[in-house]
Symmetry: C2
Subunit: 463 residues, 2 copies
């Protein structure tokens, strides 16, 4: 589809910002199975979840019927500090690749958290405040999510405890410092502030911690502190809902110029940015109104969809959360230590998993040296240093554009550029020095991970 005079950057005006999120589940004929309480093997009720999550977030989590869920004015007031984000026509990348394809990217990195994470952080902090809570807790690994939530907690006036994987807190002191600057309390995990932390410290003195351990500490702190709840940055349906602003803005900007994407690409870790980017386009596809090729891109070193199993599994490695039916490598799977970027999650958003299982989207995996090759190419021609996570989507978009060139096809490609790589320069250094390597798990590695999937009633017949 040939369209003329498309600006390099398409900005919506503040009035054109979405006033409601898009709930793709309202269009799904097959819903993902419910969360299951591991003790009872029965679906989780609202009461099961209420001690951990904010009430409004649970309602959103369980909502399968409303296509639009209004964004409260108090959240729009926060969104306008960093939204609408630009949709960019990648003219320079197209030129460099000499492709007949049109490439667009939605850039979510122009805010101090450096990523799309702020979209859900704002919403969850707002709802916590509305519920009369005084504090929230979370865990963070690399720190993007921790930064986003610290900004939101500061804006709405909530105390925030961030359990930061100890080795990350030590390796990324500057990420930690941004979080502190926003007034949040950073606790290297494992810590002596929780039962879970003390137990691990006793068992493994000197350990650098893990995300699973940090989750355990954050959840324990939330359920044991009056007026406190736990907040999660990906995977869950309500997080994907909040991230649908990415897709809604992208669609509104493309609609303005009469452009319809043929391919929509996003990186996938827990699945929240991808789920949000594709939401309104996927809703149409589920209604038979388009035939867009949706591609989730995961690291070859953590291939949840391309090589995982579609079963019930714990959402965390400490096995304290409910069970979710999703594509998973097993809650005990750990990607190789040489894997630089994020997207290390063993599982996948249940919504994305169900859509993948039902054939509405594709998944591909890419190796990290190829990812960084695309990242550096992109930084040079489009002027933005991408986060390693985002560069997975760039890699797939570049591959798609090159395929268009080989086959002489003029497709419209849209991809999500979720964030910037300013705090990932140790990984860039590895790439620049030529010391970066790829590790693809062997079938034996995967088998070890699969062995950590619970063999329980809801998985009977699936394992």
């Amino acid at each position: 589809m040939a369209v003329k005079n498309i600006p390099y950057k398409i900005y919506l005006s503040e009035e054109e910002m979405p006033k409601a999120w898009y709930n793709v589940k309202a269009h799904m004929k097959v819903q993902h199975p419910p969360f299951v309480n591991p003790a009872t093997q029965k679906p989780c009720s609202k009461d099961d979840l209420a001690p951990v999550f904010c009430d409004e977030c649970i309602d959103q989590e369980l909502n399968e019927t409303d296509e639009r869920i209004a964004i409260p004015q108090g959240i729009l007031d926060f969104y306008r500090m960093f939204r609408p984000s630009p949709l960019v026509r990648a003219y320079y990348l197209e030129q460099l690749l000499d492709t007949p394809a049109e490439i667009y990217y939605k850039f979510e990195g122009n805010n101090t958290s450096g990523s799309h994470k702020l979209n859900s952080a704002a919403a969850q902090a707002y709802y916590a405040k509305q519920q009369g809570l005084t504090s929230i807790t979370t865990e963070t690994g690399a720190g993007q999510w921790g930064t986003a939530l610290a900004m939101a907690a500061s804006f709405y006036g909530l105390h925030l405890d961030v359990y930061m994987v100890k080795v990350s807190a030590e390796q990324k002191p500057y990420r930690r410092e941004v979080i502190r600057t926003y007034g949040a309390n950073v606790i290297p995990s494992p810590s002596d502030t929780t039962e879970a932390g003390r137990k691990i410290l006793k068992e493994f003195p000197g350990t650098g911690g893990s995300l699973g351990c940090a989750i355990s500490e954050a959840v324990e702190k939330a359920v044991s502190t009056p007026g406190c709840r736990y907040v999660l940055g990906s995977v869950l349906d309500h997080v994907l809902l909040h991230q649908s602003v990415i897709g809604l803005e992208s669609k509104a900007a493309l609609d303005k110029y009469g452009v319809t994407p043929d391919v929509v690409i996003g990186c996938v870790g827990g699945g929240s940015n991808f789920g949000g980017l594709i939401a309104p386009f996927m809703g149409e596809k589920l209604d038979g109104k388009n035939d867009i090729d949706f591609i989730g891109v995961e690291p070859a070193s953590c291939p949840s969809m391309t090589r995982g199993k579609f079963v019930y599994d714990f959402c965390d490695s400490a096995k304290i959360t409910p069970l979710a039916k999703m594509y998973t490598l097993g809650c005990g799977f750990m990607p190789s230590a040489n894997h630089a970027g994020g997207l290390r999650y063993h599982g996948m958003s249940p919504v994305v998993s169900q859509l993948y299982h039902d054939g509405y989207l594709r998944a591909v995996s890419v190796e990290q040296t190829k990812v960084f090759e695309a990242a550096v190419m992109f930084a040079k021609c489009e002027g933005i240093l991408p986060a390693p996570e985002s560069a997975h989507a760039i890699r797939a978009a570049v591959d798609e554009a090159l395929r268009c060139k080989r086959e002489g096809k003029k497709k419209v490609i849209l991809f999500g550029l979720t964030g910037t790589g300013y705090f990932d320069l140790a990984a860039y250094k590895q790439y620049n020095d030529g010391t970066m390597t790829d590790t693809i798990p062997t079938d034996a590695d995967l088998a070890k991970g699969f062995a950590t999937i619970p063999d329980c009633a809801v998985n009977r017949g699936l394992l």
Copy 2:
């Protein structure tokens, strides 16, 4: 002036981007005195400057008559990757301060260099390429300028050697890595690649280097390499000219909503962002068409205007450059080591100096703990973590808004938010830890600096 319905962020469209820079000198009744060759004590001719700088930049440097200088399409093509930048109405800051003032800021930090430096880097790299040069050199301290020039050199296909002060290269390995990612060659200075570097290494083995030494190396490399020129990121008239896009866009955005500033505030180090921000407003003031209060904000630890002398001085501490008539603390002045931000330059742009001398603008100095207090306040309420340099302007804007509150005056304040602080978190850590201190040079400290000002023919009667 009450204006309704102003959006939080005002974006110009790509068609509204300035097509020409604004040369404030065309409106100055008194031009700053010319650069002087220290050997002859005579004004520098174009031929004196040609071995060091690109021809087009020298023409722009010497142009005192044309108000508008067209921006070539090749530079506009680069500008559109990060321009127009947003003009933001600081509603949340106004609310927090409970001030009757309207506060606006022009945000130049939404690009990978993290600052306004890219405006001149793009222009200078373009002109170097047009002249048929194959490489350029520069020095960088903190690294913002080095990053910007690396991005521009990569875009236009030029080799770039960046002499980076050795202690900075070691303390800021990630800044260095961004520069490397864009394909530039980073050489910790002093190095054994130049005569000047080898001399200093022999004299002071193990030295961490200085900006003066890095300039010497970069200039020597440029004049001794065929097809190579040296590029500077501030101070000079042509750099201020390129930075006028900041002021032009700000004015266009404000004009759209019928807003006229009463006060325009910018931080000053070499003076390029401030000179660029005020340019079109100052042109009107020089023509008697407005009475805007222009305020340049400098660190109390490096008070070039508020406590300096208006004399001829070297532009660098190594005394290899031409002499410029400017406000200076003496080319040998070094701000105290506890000074965290940039703005460490001993002198000041000759254009800004002349305007200050003639009473068209004011200068104030602020202490760094007060600067960081304003920075953190701003980060929390406006959602952007500012560069320490930019936070000098925030401090002055906040003080001005609080004065409006005390005096019950409703002024319109515009300030320049030049960049982000993602690579300055060591300084934020100092502030957060409560270990940051202020140092104001004593008169004796200043006297030592003034003693390094050359006692020469052009300074006769001034010293």
